[in-house]
């Protein structure tokens, strides 16, 4: 029986069609969103790289190092 392929063909065409429609609409929506963002949030600046996957962000790192240095300096003064 050959009806699986013939059953699937419209499904496949339909499927890829919906994928294209979806992503085309997403392109339009994204462009509209970006345009609105540029108009209403002009000073917002670019996204900072603040979601680094590292456990210790550099700022926190620097703070810790500063704290240790201070701690040592105090110890040194006391010694």
């Amino acid at each position: 029986m050959e009806n699986l392929f013939s059953q699937g063909l419209p499904l496949a065409l339909f499927g890829i069609g919906v994928v294209f429609i979806f992503l085309c609409l997403l392109i339009l929506a994204t462009r509209a969103m970006s345009a609105l963002a540029a108009r209403f949030a002009p000073a917002a600046g670019t996204a900072p790289a603040e979601t680094s996957p590292s456990h210790l962000p550099p700022a926190q790192m620097a703070a810790i190092i500063a704290a240790i240095t201070l701690h040592r300096a105090r110890r040194g003064a006391a010694a």
Partner: protein, 376 residues
């Protein structure tokens, strides 16, 4: 003496069947690929080790009350594990390159042709009597062409759990093989001149755009393809946590301990489906063949779409980046980058390829939703 006999009867030496021995060898081979060749080791190592455990006779591990069976029931039969992984992937995804150049989403759409071509291929093989795939099974196999692990596992768990082991192996193996599979296809369909096309720098993307995009994507999904909403919803949730910048401790956990824990448990659960009686079946061979075809077809469709776009637009794009539309993040984008450098050592395509790359994740999730809706 009775004990010796009982224990002897209980040993693997007596109970092993040749199929289990074959599966052990296959799993050891997968471990070799994962460890020595670094084939997607984060998933393939746990899957392959789970496969070893699933093929030990004389003890319940992947069956009955065994731990792998329980992990399967807890996380895969319920689809919870793939969805949590997809949330973690969302938290690790940067949509910046896509937002800088939205039209590259078309490449992410085109590459999904691989999925639907494979669907037809699987049905054709069934019609020819070579295999006996149902429509549900064909759909679950076809999604391998999406080149996206959690999406494949999610669809397989919904439509064809009996094929889950083979689909997972095919999906992750071919993702690891992207640096081998894609170049011949991409090179055959492009001229050297096309491959030398340079692309200009990307505009900077505002934080507000990155925050709004996952919401936009979710709303569009809800309106048009709600069946894709569990997948894309969790993905957008992870991404919104990331981009909002106000829940850093949750983002960090979603990117690290949560996704790692689920990866370990998911890998073992998938491994439970590598038991010989489920994996050593003709369907597996068909899945491996169709999976390879799916990757190649998706790559070809992405490249051809890029060439078509160049016909219709004045602002040319390097057609190689169409190959990144299959997803396989970030392997496909890196492969594209490497091919670009081979054609022109000063051509930097990596960032440009990341756009279609993440668009491919969206595209295959949408395709999964359609397949669930129509074949489920």
């Amino acid at each position: 003496m009775e004990q010796w006999h009982a224990l002897w009867q209980g040993t693997g030496l007596v109970q092993f069947e040749w199929q289990q021995a074959v599966m052990l060898l296959i799993c050891l081979g997968l471990l070799y690929l994962a460890i020595h060749r670094k084939f997607e080791p984060l998933l393939l190592l746990p899957i392959a080790f789970g496969g070893l455990l699933a093929n030990i006779p004389g003890v319940e591990i992947a069956t009955g009350d065994g731990i792998l069976r329980q992990l399967y029931e807890i996380g895969l039969a319920t689809s919870i594990f793939p969805l949590l992984i997809f949330m973690g992937v969302g938290a690790l995804t940067d949509f910046g390159p896509l937002l800088a150049n939205p039209r590259t989403m078309l490449l992410g759409a085109a590459a999904q042709v691989g999925i639907f071509a494979t669907l037809l291929g699987a049905l054709l093989l069934s019609d020819l009597g070579l295999f006996d795939f149902s429509l549900q099974q064909a759909a679950a196999i076809a999604i391998i062409g999406g080149a996206d692990g959690p999406t494949s596992l999610y669809l397989a768990s919904v439509l064809a759990p009996e094929l889950l082991g083979a689909i997972a192996i095919a999906a992750y193996s071919y993702m690891a093989l992207v640096p081998l599979i894609q170049p011949p296809v991409a090179l055959a369909l492009t001229t050297a001149k096309e491959r030398r096309i340079r692309m200009s720098g990307q505009r900077e993307v505002r934080r507000i755009e990155k925050i709004l995009f996952p919401l936009l994507l979710l709303m569009l999904t809800a309106l048009l393809v709600p069946a894709a909403a569990p997948l894309l919803g969790m993905f957008c949730f992870g991404n919104l946590m990331r981009e909002s910048g106000v829940v850093k401790r949750l983002t960090d956990t979603a990117q690290n301990s949560l996704v790692n824990i689920v990866t370990i448990l998911l890998g073992l659960a998938v491994g439970s489906r590598l038991a010989a009686d489920q994996f050593l079946v003709p369907a597996t061979l068909g899945i491996l063949l169709l999976g390879l075809f799916a990757f190649a077809a998706g790559t070809a469709a992405g490249v051809l779409m890029a060439k078509l776009m160049n016909r219709l637009s004045r602002n040319p794009i390097n057609p190689l980046i169409g190959a990144a539309g299959v997803s396989a993040v970030p392997m496909a984008a890196r492969t594209v980058h490497r091919l670009g450098k081979q054609a022109d050592p000063e051509n930097f395509l990596l960032m440009h390829a990341m756009g279609p790359n993440v668009a491919g994740v969206i595209g295959s999730a949408i395709a999964a939703g359609i397949l669930i809706r129509l074949a489920g």
